[in-house]
């Protein structure tokens, strides 16, 4: 299900906020169709790494590539803006707090990008919105404003909004962390469905069960470096590194409390 050409290629990523080094020379390759989970304690840099992929948090050093296109290319400001807006259309992102546009209906949330950036007609955009919202099981909520949706429904609309741009890769930044426990499953189901469709996905998560069930590879980050990575059963059942073991033991203890 994966081939060997890196689809997303992060090379020597380095990021500092002032004197604080958040990412310390991280390299990571993700193949087309691969599903990668990034786990680790808070402050380990996993969200920063994810947000570097679409340059939401620009790196201070290193390169990010999507296929044959460098995301964080060095360009004069104006050209760079043009370039990055183009690149971002290929990278869907889902946030912990959904960030749906509250002044727009579910439909309008989904059609905004395609209409403005791909010049879709009203009719085509509506068809796309119906398609994408049906996919996340919310066709019956298409004309609802976000305030009338539950957290899980909001996150599914946010996923539909990202998918409407037909991205090559989807980034999930703790997509279920802000949800009530009973709403987590409906979002997980949508993500599983995407996985079955061979979407390339990079998922920052605290949900080890989901990571184990869905992902091809798990990356454990701590303190700005990748400590250990491997297939989920290896990382979760039999990790080599002491820090990975400690983290998982602590996490499990917290989860069972």
């Amino acid at each position: 299900m994966t081939d060997q050409i890196p689809f997303v290629n992060i090379r020597h990523a380095q990021k500092s906020f002032g004197t604080l080094e958040v990412l310390k020379d991280i390299s990571l390759q993700v193949a087309k169709g691969e599903i990668v989970a990034i786990i680790g304690p808070s402050g380990s840099g996993k969200s920063t790494l994810l947000r570097a992929i679409n340059d939401l948090d620009p790196l201070t050093g290193g390169e990010v590539w999507l296929e044959d296109m460098q995301v964080n290319m060095k360009l004069p400001h104006r050209q760079y803006e043009k370039h990055i807006n183009q690149v971002r259309q290929n990278i869907g992102m889902v946030f912990q707090h959904f960030n749906l546009f509250p002044h727009l209906t579910a439909r309008q949330n989904v059609t905004l990008g395609p209409k403005m950036l791909k010049g879709l007609s009203e009719a085509d955009a509506n068809k796309l919105a119906e398609e994408q919202l049906a996919k996340v099981g919310l066709l019956d909520r298409i004309d609802y404003y976000p305030s009338r949706l539950s957290g899980g429904q909001k996150q599914r609309v946010a996923i539909a909004r990202a998918l409407a741009m037909k991205p090559k890769v989807m980034l999930f930044d703790e997509a279920t962390s802000a949800l009530d426990p009973e709403l987590v499953e409906e979002v997980n189901l949508v993500m599983k469905k995407l996985a079955e469709e061979n979407m390339t996905m990079i998922i920052v998560t605290h949900e080890m069960g989901f990571a184990e069930a869905v992902c091809d590879r798990v990356i454990f980050m701590d303190n700005g470096v990748i400590v250990e990575q491997g297939p989920p059963d290896k990382i979760f059942r039999n990790p080599d590194n002491q820090r990975t073991q400690d983290f998982l033991r602590k996490h499990l203890a917290n989860a069972n409390r």
Partner: protein, 218 residues
């Protein structure tokens, strides 16, 4: 001399005409101050300094000096540099820009209060910063700021009386005209006050309607 409100009826037409002009100048200035306020807010927050700094000076001029003086300057002063505006236009520009500066302060605060995740989500889809501002951030900021702007618009209605001094025959000037003919200041000033109050009630009704509409879309 006792009060005698029977002097009013012959001047009802004049006073109503004045009321219409007051409504017209208030409405036109309100529209200018609203859209001007948005433009000024965006300039104040996002324009490069070569535009932003002169704008600050301009905003200071409008906030730090009397509106009456600004109206004189626009109507009488600009003639000297070849800009001869009709009184109505001068009044709308003066009132409109004056209140645009005040609205802009409200809108700036409101823009900054929009969750930064909104800008991030919009940029992530691929929208440029200005597209994201236009379609995502500013509509939300404006929606939140409608009630306080409504209060500014009521102040605008009351300050519209100032354009009487540059000869726009709005409500106050119409009352003065009637007083000049009848020497009955009390009766006509009270009448004008009542009419201002009625217009005020009308504006509040419109405002409530807009706020209800916004609420419905949440």
């Amino acid at each position: 001399m006792s009060l005698d409100f029977t002097v009013i009826p012959p001047f009802i037409g004049v006073i109503l005409m004045g009321a219409l002009w007051t409504i017209a100048i208030t409405a036109a200035s309100a529209v200018l101050s609203f859209f001007g306020g948005i433009v000024f807010a965006v300039v104040a927050l996002y324009a490069p300094w070569v535009i932003r700094l002169p704008f600050r000076a301009f905003a200071w001029l409008f906030m730090g000096t009397p509106l009456l003086l600004q109206l004189f300057l626009i109507y009488f002063g600009l003639v000297q540099i070849g800009i001869d505006l009709p009184a109505f236009a001068a009044g709308v520009i003066g009132l409109g820009l004056h209140f645009a500066v005040y609205n802009s302060e409200l809108i700036q605060t409101s823009i900054l209060a929009v969750d930064k995740g909104q800008m991030e989500a919009a940029r992530t889809i691929g929208l440029s910063r200005s597209q994201a501002l236009r379609k995502v951030v500013i509509p939300q900021a404006v929606r939140d700021v409608i009630p306080p702007i409504g209060n500014n618009m009521i102040a605008l209605l009351k300050d519209s009386a100032l354009v009487s001094v540059i000869g726009v025959s709005e409500l106050t000037l119409s009352a003065q005209l009637a007083i000049g003919r009848t020497y009955r200041p009390f009766e006509f000033y009270v009448l004008a006050a009542v009419v201002y109050y009625i217009i005020n009630l009308g504006m509040e009704a419109v405002q409530r309607r807009i706020e209800r509409r916004i609420k419905a879309a949440r």
